[in-house]
C-alpha cells in the first residue's frame, strides 16, 4: 500500500516527502489544539468547569483563562508544547506533564508488549496455518480466528475480568501493581506481570486474529509462487522454505497493516485501561474527561496523536529493512 506518486518519485525523495508530510501533520495538530479552545463560544472556562466535579477559585479560573488566552500566539504555544509546559491540572492538582509522564510508561509497557506478542503469534500462526492449508486443524484455526476477530475489546475485557479476576480470583482486577506493597527487585517485577496479564491477554486476543488471517492469506499466495517450487526441488528442509524463503514475503503486508491500523487500535487500548483501571494514559484521559479537566485532555490527545505519527514514520523506515526491493529501488 505504498502511496502514490511512487511511480515517479525515487525511494529517497519519497522518504523525505513522508517525513515532511508527517511533520506538517504534527504541526497541524498542534495548531488545532491551540486554536480549537478559542473557537468555543463564550467563556468556555466557566462552561467547562460548570459540569465538572472540581470547583475553581476565582484566581484559578483567571489563571486558566490566562493560559488559554495564549499571549505568545502560536509560536509561544509551540514553545510551551516543546518545553513540556502543558499547564496545570486543577482536578489532580499537579502539572499536566508530570501526570502524563507518570502514565506513559504503563501504556508503553502494555501496548508495546501486546503488539510485539500478537505480531509474533499471528505471524508464526499464519505461516504454519498456510503451510498446512486445507487440513482440518487449519480450517478450525481459521474459523476460530474469524470468530475472535468479531469480538470487540470491550466484550473480551469484561468477560476476562469476570472469569479470571472476580470468579476464579487468579489475577488482580485493578491497577498495575499492588499499592504500598514495597516490593523489591524480582518480587516487584512478578507483581507487575501479574497485574499486566489480564489487560495484555485482552489486547492480544484483539490483535492476533487480524495478523493471523492476513499472514495466512498472503502466505497461501506466496506458497504457490514458482520460487517456492524451486526451493522444494532443491530439497531444502521445509522449515527453511517456510521462513527463509516464503515468510519474508508475508512480512511486508503485516507491517503495512500495522501502520494502517495503529491509529484505530488506540481506541481499544483506551477502553481496556479503563476496564482494568490500569494507570496508563487511557485511564488518565478517562478521569480527565469525567472531571472535564481540559488541559489534561488536550495534552493526552495531542501527545498520543504525535506519538502515533512517530511510530508510523519509524515503520516507513522499517519497510526498507524488511524489503530490499524498496531499499534498492532506483
Amino acid at each position: 500500500m505504498k502511496a502514490t506518486g511512487g511511480r515517479e518519485m525515487t525511494g529517497k525523495r519519497r522518504g523525505v516527502g513522508t517525513v515532511i508530510s508527517f511533520a506538517l501533520a504534527a504541526l497541524v495538530m498542534i495548531y488545532l489544539s491551540y486554536q480549537v479552545p478559542r473557537l468555543l463560544p463564550g467563556d468556555f472556562v466557566t462552561a467547562m468547569y460548570a459540569s465538572s466535579q472540581v470547583t475553581l477559585t476565582a484566581e484559578e479560573a483567571a489563571d486558566l483563562r490566562a493560559y488559554y488566552a495564549q499571549e505568545g500566539g502560536f509560536g509561544g504555544y509551540l514553545a510551551r508544547v516543546l518545553t513540556l509546559d502543558w499547564g496545570y491540572s486543577y482536578a489532580f492538582l499537579t502539572p499536566v506533564s508530570e501526570l502524563f509522564f507518570e502514565a506513559l510508561p504503563w501504556t508503553l509497557l502494555l501496548l508495546g508488549t501486546a503488539h510485539l506478542l500478537s505480531m509474533a503469534a499471528g505471524f508464526v500462526g499464519g505461516v504454519e496455518a498456510a503451510w498446512r492449508h486445507g487440513r482440518v486443524a487449519e480450517k478450525g484455526l481459521v474459523g476460530g480466528m474469524t470468530l475472535l476477530e468479531g469480538m470487540p475489546e470491550i466484550s473480551t475485557g469484561v468477560i476476562l475480568l469476570f472469569v479470571f479476576a472476580l470468579n476464579l480470583n487468579w489475577f488482580p482486577a485493578v491497577g498495575a501493581e499492588t499499592a504500598y506493597a514495597d516490593l523489591g527487585g524480582i518480587d516487584r517485577l512478578g507483581n507487575i506481570l501479574h497485574h499486566l496479564a489480564l489487560p495484555l491477554t485482552t489486547l492480544i486476543l484483539a490483535y492476533v486474529p487480524g495478523n493471523f488471517l492476513l499472514t495466512r492469506n498472503s502466505m497461501i499466495l506466496v506458497l504457490r509462487a514458482p520460487f517456492i517450487q524451486t526451493a522444494r526441488a532443491k530439497g531444502l528442509p521445509p522449515i527453511r522454505i517456510r521462513y527463509a524463503h516464503a515468510a519474508r514475503n508475508a512480512l511486508l503486508p503485516l507491517a503495512t497493516r500495522f501502520g494502517l491500523r495503529l491509529a484505530f487500535m488506540i481506541t481499544g487500548a483506551l477502553v481496556i485501561e479503563r476496564i482494568y483501571a490500569y494507570p496508563g494514559l487511557g485511564t488518565l484521559l478517562f478521569n480527565a474527561i469525567q472531571a472535564r479537566d481540559l488541559p489534561v485532555i488536550q495534552s493526552v490527545v495531542l501527545m498520543s496523536s504525535i506519538g502515533v505519527l512517530g511510530v508510523i514514520l519509524c515503520l516507513e523506515a522499517a519497510y526498507r529493512l524488511i524489503d530490499p526491493r524498496i531499499r534498492n529501488a532506483h
Binding site: 513522508t18 467547562m48 466484550s155 472476580l166 491509529a263 484505530f264 469525567q290 481540559l294
Partner: protein
C-alpha cells in the same frame, strides 16, 4: 466484477453475518415499539433482579434495563450505518477521482489519505466531544472523515486496472466524457467493493461509538451499549453480571461479529487471488 449470489449464500460466514445483521436491523427499526417501558422512566425500584415485569431487571437509576438495551442497540446501529455510508461516499469519490484523473489530483488525494490514516481518529473525536458536546451524528460524520482513506485506496487501485480494460477504452474511443465513464462504467462495476468497504467501516464505527460512550463522551441521557457497560461495571462486585452487564456485552459482540462475518464472507468470495485452481474459495 459481480457477486455470484449462490456462491455468497453458500458461505457460512456470510449467512451467519446476514442473519445477525437482519436480527439487529429488526431490533433497531422496531426498538421503541418492542420496549416494554420508557427507558428514561426512573420510577422503578433501583437495582432489582429480573422478574416477570422487568425481564432484565432495573438499573441503579430505576430504569428498565431491557428497554434501555433496545434503545441502545438502535443508537449504536444508526451511528455505524451513518458513519459507514459517509465514509463509503467519500472513499469512492476520492478513489475514483484519484485513479481516473491521476497526476496532481491523485498525488494530493493519496497524500491526504496517508496523513489522515496516521491520525488517531479517536483522539480527535474525544477532543471534539469534550469541547463542543456535539450531536452524535456530527461525531459519526467526523469519524467518516478519518475513515475514508482505506476505501479510497482499494477503489483507486481497481480504477487504475479498469482504465486499461477494453470496454473502458472503447467508451473513450467513442468520445464518452470522463464523467460519463465514471458514472456509467466505473461506479457500478465496483459495487461489490463498496459492500466490503461499507461493512468494514460500519463495524469500525459501531466499535468506536461503543468505546466513546464507554468513556463517557456522549450525552449521559443517550442510551448506548458502551454507556450501559460502563455504568454496570461500577457495580461489578454485586450480583448484576447476568442481567445487567452481560446483555449489552453480548449485544455488542454479536453486532460487531455480524458485520465482521459479512465482510469476511464477501471478501472470501470476491478476492480472486484467494481461489484454488478449481475456483473454490479457500
Amino acid at each position: 466484477m459481480h457477486i455470484n449470489r449462490k456462491e455468497v449464500l453458500r458461505d457460512p460466514w456470510f449467512v451467519a453475518g446476514l442473519c445477525l445483521a437482519l436480527a439487529f436491523g429488526f431490533v433497531a427499526l422496531l426498538g421503541p415499539a418492542l420496549a416494554p417501558y420508557d427507558p428514561w422512566n426512573m420510577g422503578f425500584e433501583p437495582i432489582a433482579s429480573p422478574d416477570s415485569r422487568h425481564l432484565l431487571g432495573v438499573n441503579d437509576g430505576g430504569q428498565d434495563i431491557l428497554s434501555e438495551l433496545l434503545y441502545a442497540v438502535r443508537n449504536t446501529v444508526a451511528f455505524g450505518l451513518l458513519s459507514g455510508l459517509a465514509a463509503l461516499g467519500l472513499g469512492v469519490a476520492a478513489g475514483l477521482a484519484a485513479g481516473w484523473y491521476g497526476g496532481p489530483v491523485d498525488a494530493f488525494l493519496m497524500r491526504l489519505a496517508d496523513v489522515l490514516l496516521a491520525v488517531p481518529a479517536v483522539m480527535v473525536l474525544i477532543l471534539a466531544a469534550a469541547l463542543f458536546r456535539p450531536e452524535p451524528w456530527v461525531l459519526a460524520l467526523l469519524l467518516a472523515v478519518f475513515a475514508w482513506p482505506t476505501i479510497s485506496k482499494t477503489i483507486r487501485a481497481q480504477t487504475l486496472s479498469l482504465r486499461t480494460s477494453l470496454h473502458v477504452k472503447a467508451a473513450v474511443r467513442m468520445g464518452a466524457s470522463g464523467r460519463y465513464i465514471l458514472r456509467r462504467h466505473l461506479l457500478p462495476e465496483m459495487f461489490p467493493l463498496y459492500l466490503i468497504g461499507f461493512a468494514a467501516k460500519a463495524r469500525m464505527a459501531m466499535f468506536m461509538e461503543a468505546s466513546l460512550a464507554f468513556l463517557g463522551l456522549f450525552d449521559p441521557s443517550r442510551k448506548s451499549l458502551g454507556m450501559m457497560i460502563s455504568y454496570a461495571l461500577k457495580f461489578y462486585y454485586m450480583d448484576i453480571w447476568w442481567h445487567w452487564l452481560m446483555p449489552p456485552v453480548l449485544c455488542l459482540s454479536l453486532l460487531i461479529m455480524g458485520v465482521t462475518f459479512l465482510a469476511v464472507g464477501l471478501e472470501k468470495v470476491l478476492d480472486p487471488r484467494l481461489r484454488t485452481v478449481t475456483g473454490e474459495p479457500v
